[in-house]
């Protein structure tokens, strides 16, 4: 029986409930979920006591979906329906994916994001990832004993907009409220920095299963400031496995293995790679389905030799990040190693040689990202007092721009700009009487559109006819704190707003997500409606609670009639939230937001003034 808690006399009970929030590391190879309990961040285990969830999803003919260890074990038996390393496909087209030829999937060749045909129909990488996230959500809710307020999901820092959006869509599909997308190296820096009270310039070298990131951060009292980031969104431990796999084929004299054998050989390659981090030499023995015998032995020196180009490939982004930061390698005070692939001794050695110092390997490279994400989730959920919060300033990894005449890119937001950020650029018409304009949004560093990632296309219609060059179309890019871009276009002389319908190049349209959400509920309409209602109720409760707290602190900012109006809006929202009509709550929420806008502005104003006043007092002391 649970004991009832009674607070000490004179002590008030908690001002607000502790909100359940988690951090999720959605990895290429493994995924984890962590939370902060009693002030300590820890990874949550499944029923079997395991923390790592293999990022593998198997679709069975009977409609079941298996996630994790069991699916991992099934991959050699049912390769076509068992999806591994799905993260490599997020926000990517088929032609972007490396080693497609050795993958056992039935790819659907279509425009946009790659799709996979399984025994349960065609699946998008977003849906596959959502299954992994759902598994972790259920684990967390079971373990914490309640519904989650929200989650911080980590993404590689070098993920582009399409990959980030795909990750956020997957989270939505899995029923998670995304508090923030957080860059993996930044999450690791939080965990490391807080644990070690670090100050100064640090680099985080994050070599995961399928992605590589390097972030350079400045840590100072309570501030984590990313100065520059770089990476390679398709370089990771998987590529080391693949080199070894090719070496095994060559040396065993196998040319074209079956899908099943290929999977078994790849699994073997990973196992051998891991053992080579500990042993100088590892035997490789197996009998394939084809009857071929593999009987080899590999020395660490050979493995180091065949993977040397991969290690060298990671150092290029490192150099670029340092150049962008305006720093030399010896100005970096510490290099934090993250990701399972950094266990390889020759990776550690190469990084050590480059920076001229032994890299920091005292944190578990598998869990540090999830731990940092959990700490950030705890802050974002509002569980910490404002004074103990830290400030995190992150950047976008790749420049954002618009295609102009001749297939060139006009950069609007440069890489390494601190987010959130917004920039505008004016464009004009090319022909007399032109009434529409189409825009192509791209991301990347090259000058040619063809060498950048296509993010989306949209059209601005209803431009009044003018002579060529007279119209002033201002395109505004806004990147939010998740690193996600939104675009608005407006004709300046007449004020015509773009009817912007963005067609994502490698993403899912809103209606596709809605369809997937519906399908996810197995046609159980009630379930979905109930969920929608619950979401609105939770949001209403949250809004009322937050506003009431603000009213306690800042009541003086409102005059009597303003106060009455706001109280009335709260009462109306509360009444609606007690009902069963999700739409009615939504309408009241919108009305409430309008009513509280002015109050929110005044509070913001007050807190900025306080910030500046505090600063001036500091000055006086000096």
């Amino acid at each position: 029986m649970a004991l009832l808690q009674i607070s000490e006399p004179g002590m008030s009970t908690e001002p607000h409930q502790h909100r359940l929030a988690v951090g999720i590391d959605l990895g290429t190879t493994n995924s984890l979920v962590a939370t902060v309990r009693n002030g300590v961040a820890l990874c949550l285990q499944n029923e079997d006591g395991r923390m790592l969830l293999p990022s593998v999803v198997q679709y069975l003919a009977d409609g079941q979906i298996v996630v994790g260890r069991k699916a991992h074990a099934a991959q050699a038996v049912d390769p076509r329906n068992t999806i591994v390393s799905v993260k490599r496909f997020m926000g990517r087209g088929l032609k972007d994916v490396s080693h497609v030829e050795t993958m056992p999937y039935d790819f659907v060749d279509a425009e946009g994001m790659v799709r996979l045909r399984t025994v349960q129909g065609v699946k998008s990488p977003v849906e596959v990832s959502a299954e992994i996230l759902k598994d972790l959500r259920v684990r967390a809710e079971r373990s914490l004993g309640g519904e989650l307020t929200g989650a911080v999901i980590t993404v590689p820092a070098y993920f582009d907009d399409a990959q980030r959006q795909a990750t956020k869509d997957a989270a939505r599909l899995s029923g998670l409220n995304v508090l923030r997308l957080l860059n993996e190296p930044t999450a690791a820096a939080i965990a490391y920095g807080l644990e070690n009270a670090s100050e100064g310039i640090y680099a985080v070298y994050d070599l995961g299963g399928g992605t590589f990131d390097i972030s350079v951060l400045r840590l100072s009292r309570g501030v984590f400031e990313v100065v520059a980031t770089n990476g390679d969104a398709s370089l990771g431990g998987d590529d080391f496995d693949h080199r070894l796999f090719c070496w095994m084929l060559d040396n065993a004299g196998i040319s074209l293995p079956s899908d099943r054998d290929a999977r078994r050989l790849l699994m073997k390659a990973r196992e051998v790679k891991e053992r080579l981090s500990l042993d100088e030499s590892v035997p490789i023995r197996m009998t394939l389905d084809s009857g071929d015998e593999v009987d080899l032995s590999i020395d660490r020196a050979v493995f180091v030799d065949i993977t040397r180009p991969l290690v060298a490939k990671t150092l290029k982004p490192v150099k670029k990040a340092l150049r962008d930061a305006g720093l030399e390698p010896d100005q970096v005070k510490g290099v934090v190693m993250v990701g399972g692939a950094t266990r390889m001794p020759h990776v550690q050695q190469a990084v050590g040689e480059f920076f001229g110092r032994t890299p920091l390997t005292n944190l578990d490279p598998d869990t540090v990202v999830a731990i940092g994400a959990a700490m950030q989730a705890n802050v974002l959920a509002g569980n910490r007092a404002t004074e103990d919060e830290w400030l995190l300033l992150d950047v976008i990894p790749l420049s954002l721009g618009i295609e102009t005449m001749g297939g060139l890119v006009e950069k609007i937001i440069p890489r390494n700009a601190t987010i959130p950020t917004a920039r505008a650029q004016d464009f004009t018409t090319f022909k007399d009487g032109q009434t529409a304009m189409s825009f192509h949004v791209v991301q990347g560093e090259r000058e040619l559109v063809s060498a950048c990632r296509s993010l989306a296309r949209f059209e601005l219609r209803g431009i009044p006819p003018m002579v060529a060059g007279a119209a002033r179309i201002r395109v505004t890019f806004q990147v939010d704190a998740d690193g996600l871009l939104s675009v608005a276009a407006r004709e300046q002389t007449t004020g015509v707003e773009a009817r912007v319908e963005v067609k994502p190049s490698y993403g899912l349209a809103d209606h596709e997500i809605a369809d997937m959400l519906k399908a996810g509920f197995d046609n159980a309409r009630d379930d979905m409606e109930l969920r929608g209602l619950r979401e609105q109720q939770v949001e209403a409760e949250r809004v009322v609670e937050a506003t009431e707290r603000a009213l306690v602190a800042d009541a003086v900012l409102l005059n009597e009639s303003e106060r009455e109006a706001l109280d009335a809006a709260i009462a109306a929202l509360r009444t609606a939230a007690q009902g069963q009509d999700a739409r009615a709550i939504k309408i009241q929420l919108e009305a409430f937001n309008r009513a509280s806008n002015e109050f929110a502005s005044r509070r913001m104003d007050k807190s900025i003034r306080e910030a500046l006043a505090g600063h001036r007092i500091d000055d006086l002391r000096i």
Partner: protein, 176 residues
């Protein structure tokens, strides 16, 4: 009431001028971000979130502008109602133009020869030249108040920055 249209100097409580106390600027920026950053508002209603994003965006833009000497110079001219006219006004002193041409030639040759050392040396010379222009700007803006002359210096600084970018791109290209 504070608003998003106030000038960047006022936002950080700094006097308007080219010479800026960088420590003070940075501290004021961090103090403000500490209050307005979206991470502080993630659990609050949408109205607060929206405001937070606007203010944090504004603070980032203001900080970026005041931190960089070129952007700051440009912004000061804008505040005073002077258009530096980067595209149209290319009237520079012959000596400056000569030096520019020389550097461009050197850049082209080094790029062709893939000579990292020459590129690094060129970058060093430009940095040196840059520092000189920045010192001049402080005098022109803050002591002489000669905006036309300052606008000319800002234009030169812009030239140098472009060259610096090209050198960086060439160095990056050498590595990949």
């Amino acid at each position: 009431m504070l608003d998003l249209k106030q000038d960047f100097f006022a936002l950080f409580g700094l006097p308007v001028g080219f010479s800026v106390d960088m420590d003070r600027l940075e501290q004021a920026y961090l103090d403000i971000q500490g209050k307005v950053h979206p991470d502080r508002f993630a659990h609050l209603p949408d109205a607060d979130k929206r405001l937070s994003m606007q203010w944090a965006t504004h603070a980032n833009e203001a900080f970026r502008t005041l931190k960089s000497p070129l952007a700051r110079g440009q912004y000061l001219l804008e505040l005073k109602g002077i258009d530096p006219a980067f595209e149209t006004n290319t009237a520079m002193s012959p000596a400056f133009l000569m030096e520019q041409m020389e550097w461009r030639e050197a850049l082209g040759e080094a790029r062709e020869a893939a000579d990292e050392e020459v590129l690094e040396e060129l970058a060093r010379r430009i940095r040196h030249s840059n520092r000189g222009l920045i010192e001049q700007l402080a005098v022109q803006f803050d002591q002489q108040g000669d905006l036309e002359v300052a606008a000319d210096t800002v234009r030169r600084l812009k030239f140098l920055e472009k060259l610096q970018h090209e050198i960086n791109d060439a160095l990056t290209a050498l590595e990949s």
